[in-house]
């Protein structure tokens, strides 16, 4: 079999399949082995990439923003620091606190990692390089994300610790609430592409990335997914200064490491999803002929979004819990609903009027954003008037 350098992944798959079949294994078993191998490579890829390189980058960036040096001892520029940390975590004592629900306590970190890695199964890295192109891919992403919520809750309430419990309570309030605008915002790319399969959504962005067609939905998805993952400034579930470390306060050793990795992977996953659903995924010049190039495009886009997340994380103060919920219920959810309606109308309007689809969508989105800003300004003006009339209103929480 000649090796096709334009499409190495398919070639490698074919090569392995031929090899295993040559050993006299049944075709069904060979498919199963290849699938398991693919899953292993995918998870390993995600782990290595996110766990080693991005952790290091993240910490360096944080150090630069906070005017310190960051990791600089292990390896060149401290790039092997995450590996040293992992070794440290593995060798630490693994404590299960008194009175904890042992089974649930042990299960929670595994579920956390599972939910973060599970999403990668439907993310297309390059043309034809996708774990499984589910026809309900977008819904699958939501479902697996829900398991992440569950894991944090399990960890929080199994620990028999009141701070962990508080973290779990906050998780419910925050994650269940922010799931709603996220799901509604996910409807927009689904509608634009006409499919829920993630591969199909990437293909549908050939004519134009969805960030151009639906900037409002992009922003909504980005913000609510960040809250869903518990990244700062939405990291109330583990606010160090308020509830120690929230749900993972009782975890030590590799169990804590798994929660840490899960949180980290979740951040990367959000970046990957934003890149896939709104920034065109692997699409780029020449990606169709050279799938490896598609992988590079995908990695660049993901890294870009991830850096934006990191910048936001290290430069914003933590938001207060009632503001957080008010922000969700009063702004994000209605705006997401409006975005879906506007997208639906614009999508039907464009062919009827014979105008360019992108122009119609962009105009509609700009109008929506403008209306939102006007509404917010009117709201702020109302608060300002109330405060000026009776300054005491500030004390009882007039501002939100």
């Amino acid at each position: 079999m000649d090796f096709n350098f334009q499409d190495p992944f398919t070639s490698i798959g074919e090569l392995l399949r031929g090899l295993l079949l040559g050993w006299g294994l049944a075709p069904g078993l060979v498919s199963l082995i290849l699938m398991l191998l693919g899953a292993l490579v995918l998870a390993g890829f995600a782990m290595t990439l996110a766990g080693v390189f991005l952790t290091w980058l993240d910490r360096k960036l944080a150090a630069r923003i906070q005017d310190r040096l960051g990791p600089n001892r292990v390896g060149p520029f401290g790039i092997f620091q995450p590996i040293a940390d992992a070794i440290k975590l593995i060798t630490k004592e693994d404590i299960i606190p008194e009175g904890a629900e042992r089974a649930i306590f042990k299960l929670a970190p595994m579920l956390a990692v599972m939910s973060a890695v599970g999403i990668w199964a439907v993310v297309p890295f390059a043309p034809r390089l996708i774990g499984t192109d589910l026809n309900v891919g977008v819904l699958y992403i939501v479902a697996v994300g829900a398991i992440g919520t569950l894991s944090i809750m399990m960890g929080g309430m199994a620990s028999n610790n009141k701070y962990a419990m508080l973290g779990a309570f906050r998780t419910v309030a925050q994650m269940v609430a922010y799931e709603i605008p996220m799901v509604i915002a996910l409807l927009v790319p689904t509608m634009l592409a006409g499919t829920m399969g993630v591969g199909g959504i990437v293909e549908a962005q050939r004519g134009g990335w969805f960030i151009v067609l639906a900037p409002v939905a992009t922003l909504l998805f980005f913000v609510s997914a960040m809250a869903e993952a518990g990244r700062a400034p939405f990291d109330l579930l583990e606010a160090e200064s308020e509830i120690v470390a929230g749900y993972n306060v009782e975890y030590s050793g590799m169990k804590f490491g798994m929660f840490y990795v899960a949180e980290f992977l979740h951040g990367v996953t959000i970046a990957a999803l934003t890149a896939t659903l709104f920034l065109g995924g692997w699409l780029g010049p020449g990606a169709q002929q050279f799938p490896l190039l598609g992988l590079v495009y995908f990695a660049i886009k993901t890294a870009f979004v991830y850096l934006v997340i990191s910048l936001i994380r290290f430069s914003m103060p933590r938001i207060r819990i009632d503001h957080l919920l008010a922000f969700n219920w009063k702004l994000l959810t209605p705006l997401a609903l409006a975005a879906v309606i506007v997208t639906a109308i614009a999508d039907k309007l464009a062919p009827a009027l014979g105008w360019n689809r992108a122009v119609v969508h962009l105009t509609a989105n700009i109008l929506l954003a403008w209306a939102t800003f006007e509404a917010l300004r009117a709201y702020a003006r109302g608060i300002r008037q109330r405060v000026e009339v009776q300054p005491a209103a500030v004390e009882t929480g007039g501002a939100d």
Partner: protein, 179 residues
């Protein structure tokens, strides 16, 4: 016995055992987690029945929302319901009898229907078409648009009702928690 049958037995047994634990486990928190396992087992059964969409919806709606709500309620109310006391009422044996008789009756009834031993014809259409058909059926004026709209009205009503019912009584001291 084929692989599919083994899978069915596996998922079926897990679901069955988990549901048994839901109604028998003395600790309510454990019951809630067993419920999640049972719901996941039902989702797996949906996949065996080639209803992928419903399987994913099962995870989103049941595990992502309902189960988490239930755990939340358990945690909120667990101060009064000590896990040590009896978890069943005095007439639990009547309940056991009723459910056993019901199960026996259902199995007897199923045994008399001849058409149940057959195996299904393979699906003629792919999942994408199926999903599209489901979507169209729910908004088609000739099919299920009325139940669908009724369901949305029901959801709306229950949302408003839940907010109204669960609101703290007016004039209570916790003012800051409102809004």
């Amino acid at each position: 016995m084929t692989l599919v049958q083994i899978l069915f037995l596996l998922f079926g047994l897990v679901t069955l055992l988990a549901s048994l634990m839901v109604v028998t486990s003395p600790k309510l928190v454990h019951a809630a987690f067993w419920l999640i396992l049972a719901l996941a087992g039902v989702a797996a059964l949906f996949i065996l029945l080639e209803a992928t969409f419903l399987a994913v919806v099962q995870v989103v709606v049941y595990i992502g929302a309902i189960a988490i709500l239930i755990i939340f309620a358990v945690m909120l109310t667990r101060r009064v319901m000590h896990d040590t006391g009896p978890q069943v009422n005095r007439s639990w044996w009547v309940a056991l009898l009723v459910s056993l008789v019901l199960f026996g009756g259902l199995v007897l009834m199923l045994a008399q229907v001849p058409a149940l031993a057959g195996t299904p014809a393979p699906l003629m259409v792919d999942q994408e078409t199926l999903l599209e058909d489901l979507g169209r059926a729910l908004v088609d004026a000739d099919r299920y648009v009325l139940p669908f709209e009724l369901a949305s009205v029901l959801l709306m009503a229950s949302m408003i009702g839940a907010i109204f019912v669960a609101r703290p009584p007016s004039g209570s001291e916790e003012r800051s928690g409102e809004r």
